[in-house]
């Protein structure tokens, strides 16, 4: 589904990514791990269109996407979340989700303005879907709360729900557990596990090892911009180079 080949990205001479390869198959749960500064988020930004790789190709369902605009990539069905939660603070939880879906239904602009019957049906569907997702992430009682007034963990959950609103083929999650309390981490884990069991393809960047090992089928390890290992969680945990990278021995 997603293929990253030979991707290189430098910032003013520093190699953030060097010749990175990565494959995600439909239905897979793949995680990218690595110490701080290993290039995980840079790779994410290249895949989601926020950075243009210097070299290499990224294809999503056979289409080259490297260098395309983030909104174009989102239209193809590849949607990301952000490490630091990004939401539309003044909009309510429900509205945040409603915004997230609107670009994917192919309605005409005039129709949107005049709220034709089709638009109203689409909006009703979107609201129904949004309610479903709010329930999924246990935020149904906060549907009318402005996002800015939610707790950090709740906002994190809401941003995951927002990414799911568009029914993406592949969802990229950037450190969903960062700065979240342990109880909320467990509920995020359960939600992701359930999604994966339903067939959602997921690519995760994460620091929390326990979380990664619990969920992933396939783990890719980056260190200093290079892929140093990949395999099942168990294989990776026992890999010498991974231990070196983490423990610095």
């Amino acid at each position: 589904m997603l293929e990253v080949k030979g991707v290189t990205k430098s910032f003013a001479g520093v190699h953030a990514l060097e010749d990175v390869e990565l494959t995600v198959k439909a239905g897979q749960f793949v995680s990218i791990i690595g110490p701080n500064g290993s290039g995980k988020t840079t790779l994410f930004n290249c895949i989601s269109g926020f950075l243009r790789p210097d070299n290499g190709t990224i294809t999503f369902e056979g289409r080259p996407i490297a260098g395309r605009q983030p909104f174009q990539i989102a239209h193809l069905g590849l949607v990301r979340t952000f490490q630091s939660v990004r939401l539309f603070g003044q909009l309510t939880a429900l509205e945040n989700l409603a915004v997230a879906v609107q670009q994917h239904q192919g309605d005409s602009t005039l129709g949107r303005f005049f709220r034709t019957r089709t638009i109203r049906r689409h909006e009703a569907e979107a609201v129904a879907h949004a309610e479903e997702l709010l329930e999924r992430v246990n935020l149904e009682q906060h549907r009318s709360t402005p996002a800015a007034e939610l707790s950090y963990g709740q906002r994190k959950l809401l941003s995951i729900a927002a990414a799911l609103m568009a029914r993406p083929k592949l969802v990229l999650l950037d450190e969903p557990t960062a700065a979240v309390n342990p109880t909320a981490i467990l509920s995020i884990r359960d939600i992701l596990r359930e999604l994966h069991q339903e067939g959602q393809t997921i690519l995760l960047v994460e620091h929390n090892m326990q979380f990664v090992m619990d969920l992933s089928e396939h783990v890719v390890v980056l260190d200093a911009g290079q892929k140093i290992a990949e395999g099942s969680p168990r294989e990776v945990r026992e890999d010498k180079r991974v231990l070196e990278a983490y423990l610095g021995t």
Binding site: S48, G49, F50, Q69, P70, F71, A74, H75, V79, R80, T81, F82, R86, L87, F88, G89, Q90, L91, T92, L94, E95, A98, V99, A100, V101, Q102, Q103, H104, D107, T109, R112, F113, R115, I119, R120, E123, A124, V127, E131, R143, S144, S159, A162, A163, M165, A166
Partner: protein, 347 residues
């Protein structure tokens, strides 16, 4: 509105309205406020006998339209354009020129004025939107100054500082046959324009397009990651605002029956920024209220123009420090505090 999402009734009452008004059905919200405001505006000329005072209200209506159309760009998508008077002036000049040379009827003049403003908005917007926030503002300011210079110096087209004078003045025969004088007729014409533009803006910002605008203003990377093209939406807000200003300009040309380079003047921008920031950017009723307050009060008090600018500056400084979210934000805060107190009393 009779139509409501099915779930609305299962919610506590205080959560019903914003949802119904902002997502799904019920675009119009509670109709009481607009009905009262429009009602007062309609009977106003029966009470206000002075032509001078009525003229001030007409000017206020002009500012309502200018401010609401300007806010699409400044408040809704967060693009601080400084070129709004250029669209207003271009509309006025376009109408005046085609009237003077070809004696086209008003409806055609308005169409041409809107077209001219839209073309200018694209000409300014395409290069300017390549720039980030403040430099965008500077670029639009540059274009606005160029537009004024063209009006001053392209004498063959605009008569320069001599202005295009002698335009047919604005009047309505049906209103005249009701015994309404010229001032009243002009007031009602601008009232109709203001209500139509306000209704248009109201529907627009509550549509999905409006939600995309807010998304871009609140968090652009997030908006992009859910598939919103920020450039396209920003440009659309800018161009729609320009079109409305151009439309207003055509009527304004006939209202004054003369169009001068001062119609593109930057001083409009200053007035409009005061109205937007004290009314509350991204708002609606607050902006309308501010448009009246900051047009009517200085005129009514007959403040000298140079003192007026100082007073404006002071009002703006006080406003942004004391009411950072403008009238509208302040009103919302008061309302929130009252409901919280009421809820506490009940508990």
């Amino acid at each position: 509105m009779t139509e409501r999402p099915a779930h609305a009734d299962s919610l506590p009452p205080n959560e019903r309205r914003p949802l119904a008004a902002r997502v799904g059905a019920g675009v119009w919200g509670r109709p009481i406020v607009p009905v009262v405001v429009i009602g007062v505006a309609v009977v106003l000329p029966l009470v206000v006998k002075s032509g001078f005072t009525l003229g001030i209200f007409t000017d206020s209506l002009v500012y309502v339209v200018l401010a609401l159309s300007y806010d699409l760009s400044v408040g809704r998508v967060g693009a601080l354009s400084l070129a709004h008077p250029a669209f207003f002036g271009t509309g006025a000049y376009a109408a005046a020129i085609v009237f003077e040379r070809y004696a086209l009827p008003l409806a055609l003049q308005v169409l041409i004025a809107v077209g001219a403003a839209v073309v200018l908005a694209f000409l300014i917007g395409i290069p300017a939107f390549r720039l980030a926030h403040l430099t965008f503002g500077m670029a639009t300011l540059g274009f606005a100054l160029i537009a004024e210079l063209i009006a001053q110096n392209e004498i063959g087209l605009t008569n320069g500082p001599l202005c295009i004078a002698g335009l047919s003045s604005l009047s309505s025969r049906p209103l005249g046959s009701l015994g309404i004088d010229q001032n009243g007729q002009q007031y009602y014409i601008f009232l109709v324009i203001a209500v139509a533009v306000a209704a248009f803006v109201w529907v627009l910002v509550r549509s999905r397009i409006g939600r995309a605008y807010i998304a871009i203003r609140e968090d652009e990377p997030m908006a992009m990651s859910v598939g919103i093209n920020p450039k396209r939406y920003r440009m659309s807000a800018f161009v729609i605002g320009a079109a409305l200003a151009g439309l207003l300009g055509a009527f304004y040309a006939h209202y004054l029956s003369v169009v001068c380079p001062t119609n593109l003047d930057i001083s409009y921008t200053v007035n409009l920024l005061v109205i937007l920031f004290l009314g509350g950017t991204g708002g609606f009723w607050g902006i309308i209220a501010a448009a009246f307050v900051f047009t009517a009060i200085p005129e009514e008090l007959q403040v000298a123009p140079n003192i007026r600018l100082i007073a404006y500056g002071a009002a703006l400084l006080l406003g942004v420090t004391l009411l950072p979210q403008g009238f509208e934000g302040a009103a919302k805060n008061v309302r929130r505090r009252l409901t919280r107190r009421a809820r506490a009393r009940r508990a």
